[in-house]
Symmetry: C2
Subunit: 447 residues, 2 copies
């Protein structure tokens, strides 16, 4: 029997986890399938591969990247550490807990360089279409190599979608946007906070993008930050030139009008209004439709596409856990494809996400959510050979992080946490976040 063929779509954190999962089995002498990874960017790393481009990329495809300059991890690295490749192993010593982008990119890359999986990836390859053929039991994957300007059409036994869900912005319209005399952009297109130095900015939204992009603009000297919320303010103890206001109603010229009748003249409007699960390359029968929640719809164990269990999705959940959750999923998917994990009957598979949804709905607060997702990670790694790690310690890092944010939103990144992998505590960073203007790897590693 010829080898199975597996297509992985995307070489970001989740796709790379999948390559590492297969390579890990190969390293142990197992007979793994042929794996081909399609990546539309010219390098790996997904969102962590920074681009100055916005809109469409050099090939005319929508820009994948939502990354901006000066971004530091907004959660402790102790929550996302790889169990098979610690920060300690990569950097040769303990580093501080909230690494900037370049440091995290270096870490992600370090593991897959060591694994030697780069030649499994077809860079500059956009997947255009995936179809499942009942007659052959295979998927036909159509992709375009944008550099060679050539199309490929190939059959695969399995398809793993690892394209992320923070690339396609959700962009609402408000009256007056069409005649606003400044810049309107979504967080997806935000690149350099210094563009907004001395500017009055309006942010719509109250989640991570709002909190972090507002903080960046504040750090790099914007004149004021106004954040409009539809349901509730974020409620942190913001700096003096930062105000939370009720929902935006309309814009006239440069004047924003809010629900409470107040107004504010602004230079730019930054829409931190979230992202969509968007799979333009998938037909109706293979396409995930889910809310951004911890229990994603229609996925058994959070990864198996119930309507065709030869297909998998990685990292489609809302996320507290990230890199090591993708690992847990990737190892599990690998074992499922390699026949080491058997799928139950259809009814059981369909009941699984429903039970997870019910359990999620019963959660009372963020602490419950963190524990819930930690338990999910534990459940998956218990069923594979992914190195077991102290998931509770990772949860603990998240709990402390939340408390540190509450205490001082502009200082939480000055804290250090204990690694769930090494048990060692991270040193504090050499410079408080608000004063550290240089986000380079060299600068960060001076601790």
């Amino acid at each position: 029997m010829s080898k199975k063929k597996v297509a992985v779509i995307g070489a970001g954190p989740s796709g790379l986890a999948q390559l590492r999962a297969f390579q890990s089995a190969k390293q142990k002498g197992e007979d793994i399938p042929d794996v081909v990874c399609f990546e539309k960017q010219s390098d790996w790393g997904g969102l962590w591969n920074y681009t100055w481009r916005t809109g469409v990329d050099a090939a005319g495809e929508p820009c994948h990247g939502s990354m901006y300059r000066y971004l530091w991890s907004n959660g402790p690295k102790e929550g996302l550490e790889f169990a098979d490749y610690t920060f300690d192993e990569h950097f040769g010593r303990e580093i501080a807990s909230y690494p900037p982008r370049a440091v995290l990119f270096d870490y992600i890359e370090g593991r897959v360089k060591k694994a030697g999986v780069r030649d499994w990836i077809r860079f500059n390859n956009v997947v255009r279409d995936v179809r499942y053929d009942d007659a052959t039991g295979k998927f036909t994957v159509t992709a375009r190599d944008t550099k060679a300007d050539k199309e490929t059409v190939e059959d695969y036994d399995h398809v793993i979608v690892a394209t992320g869900h923070f690339s396609t912005p959700n962009v609402p319209h408000y009256p007056g946007f069409e005649t606003f005399n400044g810049r309107i952009l979504h967080a997806h297109d935000f690149r350099d906070a210094r563009e907004f130095t001395d500017k009055d900015i309006l942010i719509l939204g109250t989640s991570y993008s709002a909190e972090d992009i507002g903080s960046q603009c504040w750090k790099y000297g914007c004149k004021s930050v106004t954040v409009a919320h539809r349901t509730a303010p974020m409620g942190y103890d913001w700096p003096d030139n930062w105000k939370e206001v009720p929902a935006l109603v309309k814009v006239e010229g440069r004047t924003a009008h809010f629900k409470d009748g107040t107004t504010k003249d602004v230079d730019a409007i930054i829409l931190c209004t979230g992202y969509k699960h968007h799979f333009p390359f998938l037909p109706d029968d293979l396409r995930l439709k889910t809310a951004n929640r911890l229990a994603a719809a229609d996925l058994y164990k959070g990864v198996v596409w119930n309507h065709n269990p030869k297909m998998f999705y990685l990292g489609m959940q809302d996320q507290w856990f990230t890199f090591n959750m993708f690992d847990a999923q990737a190892w599990w998917v690998r074992d499922c494809i390699m026949g080491k994990i058997a799928l139950p009957d259809q009814a059981t598979m369909e009941a699984d996400p429903k039970a997870r949804e019910a359990a999620e709905d019963a959660l009372e607060d963020d602490y419950g959510c963190i524990k819930y997702q930690g338990d999910y990670v534990q459940e998956l790694i218990d069923e594979t050979d992914y190195p077991s790690f102290d998931v509770d310690a990772a949860c603990q890092a998240f709990y402390e992080w939340k408390k540190h944010k509450k205490k001082n939103i502009m200082e939480f990144r000055n804290h250090g946490y204990t690694s769930p992998m090494t048990g060692k505590k991270a040193p504090p960073h050499h410079t408080p976040w608000k004063d550290a203007m240089d986000d380079s790897l060299e600068s960060y590693l001076q601790t």
Copy 2:
């Protein structure tokens, strides 16, 4: 025999010309094919349908629009007038020669409203894929209705690509772009010149976008305009705060360095570096690859896809003539599909674009280019029942326009020209372009 089915992709100026061409035949009692027009936007008008959005649209698809606020036609309306629907007929009187966007949109819409073709169009429908099947002799068109979130797969006898070629930006990289501390945007994402009031802007490029976006920013009070050219300056008599400089070499922080060793600190860089012919929905065998030139490659008569003559492309040429050239093409394509025009043998078809290329290469200046494209329009309309018009008079309007620009680039829009359709001369606009800040239809029509 059942009716032929024709798919038109795009409901902008060229796609709408195609619908009007078929409707015109129907009106005369002819038996026309079933025509379905796929339009990814929610309204017709193509680029003339202004959107405040940049990057991706509400459905997560790349924004089609490159239109900006305050845009006035950069060529005289006498060069683009429809022969079957004059400005005089639409507005009930003569209007001035350089209408703003809203006025031209109204004019385009007026004709197709009168024709009653709106229900031939499937709005919010993105064509994902077109394949030709040798066995059936038909095209399979796969499209997604982004509003209904449903895919359709249908067969067509003919496909007419009318998606334009000013939607996918060509975006070059220069050293330092990744660390520039201001905004970098392509002309495609330019929306409101007032965003750049009091700013120093750098423009790369020397074609229409550079000239017009620079002029807009000047008109709406930017601090300075610096335009870098790779080959030659535009050479107009620019205002005092406008400078043409040699090619950009690199950017450091906010400082742009040019080839002659000079530098300029700038707040924004606007890339007026052109567009790509981009057809992500077409496989290799159906996909046009051409330079942006008057004689497009591989198209017999500038419209028939030589590698599969059941397929057509409209408006893929570089353009002096626009709306009425699309009409000439659309009428010709209609007659070809309806069997009124017979295609010659393959060798003749292939020789045609080559002969056109050779003739284009022999042209000496812009005046020659205008005449060349005028002759092409004349050639096509001579072979159909499109109302004949005084193409020479249209060329004359272009010649005068060029002279007026040369004389004073900030005043050329104050002139009026003679309609090739009615023979009447346009009145001057009530306010010089540089002082007319309101670009609304109501304001413009006060003349």
